[in-house]
């Protein structure tokens, strides 16, 4: 495990809060498992047996999901959720969530990007995956995928 405290010149570690569920970098994407037999795509990534009842497949390959989708619905968490949720700030700062329908036919939950709330989206709003810090612990910053409206704040005013 990285111990940033002993090497002051090293940048603090930034690692995903969970392994293998999303890529990081300039154009991050969710990582799904595609059944090599029936092509069904599953997120979170899976292994073992294909969940399509008509398929006997047992092998999957990792595949990146589309980065953009449309909002199926949305809400927020105005009270701090109970553990194992780890609050990013004290005092607690509410955050918003969206269920997003991707072209692959999967609806995936995620928080909305920092700075966005329920007033910034509607059912049908286009959003895309970004990676942001979820919380910081002794290992450094832990990141998560989030949904960011494609239309920037303020751009919808004229519509």
């Amino acid at each position: 495990m990285t111990d940033a405290g002993t090497t002051p010149t090293a940048a603090p570690a930034v690692t995903p809060a969970i392994d293998g569920w999303f890529t990081t970098g300039e154009a991050p994407a969710l990582v799904a498992s595609r059944c090599t037999t029936c092509e069904s795509v599953f997120f979170p990534p899976t292994e073992g047996f294909c969940r399509n009842p008509a398929c006997e497949g047992e092998a999957f390959e990792a595949t990146e999901l589309s980065r953009r989708g449309t909002v199926w619905s949305y809400t927020d968490a105005q009270y701090q959720p109970p553990p194992p949720y780890i609050p990013a700030a004290d005092p607690y700062v509410p955050f918003a969530l969206a269920a997003v329908e991707l072209p692959e036919g999967i609806v995936v939950l995620g928080q909305l990007a920092d700075g966005y709330g329920v007033g910034d989206v509607r059912v049908g709003t286009e959003v895309e995956v970004v990676v942001e810090t979820l919380y910081t612990d002794e290992s450094g910053e832990r990141t998560i995928w989030r949904w960011k409206p494609v239309t920037e704040l303020g751009q919808e005013v004229d519509q």
Binding site: S73, A77, P84, L97, I106, V107, L109, V123
Partner: protein, 400 residues
């Protein structure tokens, strides 16, 4: 061949925060149901308990725990767990053994003691458990899911927060005279709209509490009921016509608590019914009853908005029209199709393993004409609906 079984007795322990063991509530409800049925405990030959996961080992083996507390009588025993659908699964287990001719009298009991606040997952790190991951990675609470469905109703069908508040107003009024309800107080729409927003668009008073409580049902074969012909009036005993405990079909394309995603809809043609629609459809089919014949419904109003979803899922009106029924007073006692005449979860709060049985108790009292202060006139057919985490359908149809 009739596949009906008789409900000879029902009983409950009032919902509340009593601070006692779930066993004491369960035994109270069981004795009330036995007294109501006129059947002696010694004559019960099958006990089914609804498991509670928050009360130690005794909760995991609830059937035996209740049997021992009532005094061992040698009965066969089973314990069911299906989250919020536990009661329906327990009832179905009892019904199956009766219909198979393996027993005559079954006692089904569910009881719980619940913590304050949000229902959180059990302790420990579980990186392969979606119920743990949804909290750790997303901070997604139960009200968060209810709020997603509520918001979708608003954006798609024009429902308003004022509509949701009116569901609470109605249910609070229904529960006023229900001796087993925890909250027996009128609530105004302003009360709801002025309460804190928990998960937008839902206010605190749109979301049900968690409660202690217990419910029990005495089920018998129709033969046994006839032989004992105990004070069931001219109509004969209330009968269980259907118990739907269906699971989803792939692909399940509506996001379900506690999952982080749906199945992919692209690989298979999408079923015409959603999972929740299929729960009621299976019950109607099994009972040979049409939604138009239903006199009343007890549905799982974990949130006010969810009651509106269920009305449509049970085909009591078309999709997007539940608000119209609400606004017209159709879902109020005295209206065309009263929904949650008991007061629903709005007045009870949720006691997980007891709740589906409590719905059966209420429908039974309604069908017998014993629902004082909230009686649906000439009730002949009642349906219940709820859904348990991880794909558990729950719908019971009863009739006289």
């Amino acid at each position: 061949v009739s596949r009906d079984v008789a409900v000879l007795g029902v009983g409950m322990h009032p919902w509340g925060k009593w601070g006692r063991s779930f066993v004491s509530y369960g035994v109270h409800a069981a004795r009330a149901a036995l007294a109501d049925s006129g059947v002696a405990w010694e004559d019960v030959d099958f006990v089914v308990g609804g498991e509670t996961v928050r009360n130690g080992y005794g909760g995991y083996v609830a059937g035996a725990t209740f049997a021992q507390a009532l005094g061992w009588n040698g009965a066969r025993v089973a314990t069911s767990y299906a989250a919020c659908a536990t009661g329906a699964q327990a009832l179905d287990t009892a019904r199956a053994r009766i219909l198979a001719g393996l027993c005559d009298v079954a006692l089904v009991v569910g009881a719980d003691t619940t913590p304050k606040g949000f229902l959180a997952p059990n302790a420990g790190e579980r990186w392969d458990d979606p119920d743990w991951l949804r909290f750790r990675l997303l901070g997604m609470t139960n009200p968060g899911y209810f709020a997603l469905y509520a918001r979708r109703r608003m954006d798609l069908y024009g429902a308003t927060q004022a509509d949701f508040a009116e569901v609470k107003v109605k249910n609070a009024r229904h529960g006023l005279h229900n001796p087993n309800a925890r909250y027996r107080k009128e609530v105004s729409a302003e009360d709801v709209l002025n309460s804190s927003v928990v998960s937008d668009p839902l206010h605190l008073l749109d979301i049900c509490a968690t409660s202690d409580g217990a419910a029990a049902v005495v089920l018998t074969s129709m033969d046994y009921a006839r032989r004992h012909g105990l004070r069931q009036g001219g109509r004969g005993p209330v009968r269980v016509r259907a118990v739907s405990t269906v699971t989803p079909t792939f692909p399940n394309t509506v996001i379900d608590m506690p999952l982080l995603s749906t199945d992919p809809s692209s690989s298979e043609p999408v079923e015409t019914l959603t999972f929740k629609e299929s729960i009621g459809a299976a019950a109607y089919e099994e009972a040979g009853i049409d939604p138009g014949d239903v006199s009343l419904a007890e549905v799982y109003d974990l949130s006010t908005a969810l009651e509106l979803d269920w009305i449509e899922d049970l085909a009591l009106c078309k999709r997007g029209e539940a608000e119209h029924l609400l606004r017209a007073g159709d879902t109020t006692v005295g209206g065309r199709i009263p929904v949650n005449p008991s007061g629903g979860l709005a007045c009870f709060g949720e006691a997980v393993p007891a709740q589906a049985l409590a719905q059966v108790c209420e429908v039974t009292w309604q069908l017998r004409g014993q629902a004082e202060g909230r009686q649906v006139e000439d009730a002949r057919v009642g349906i219940t609906a709820n859904q348990g985490l991880f794909g558990h359908g729950s719908s019971v149809i009863l009739s006289v």
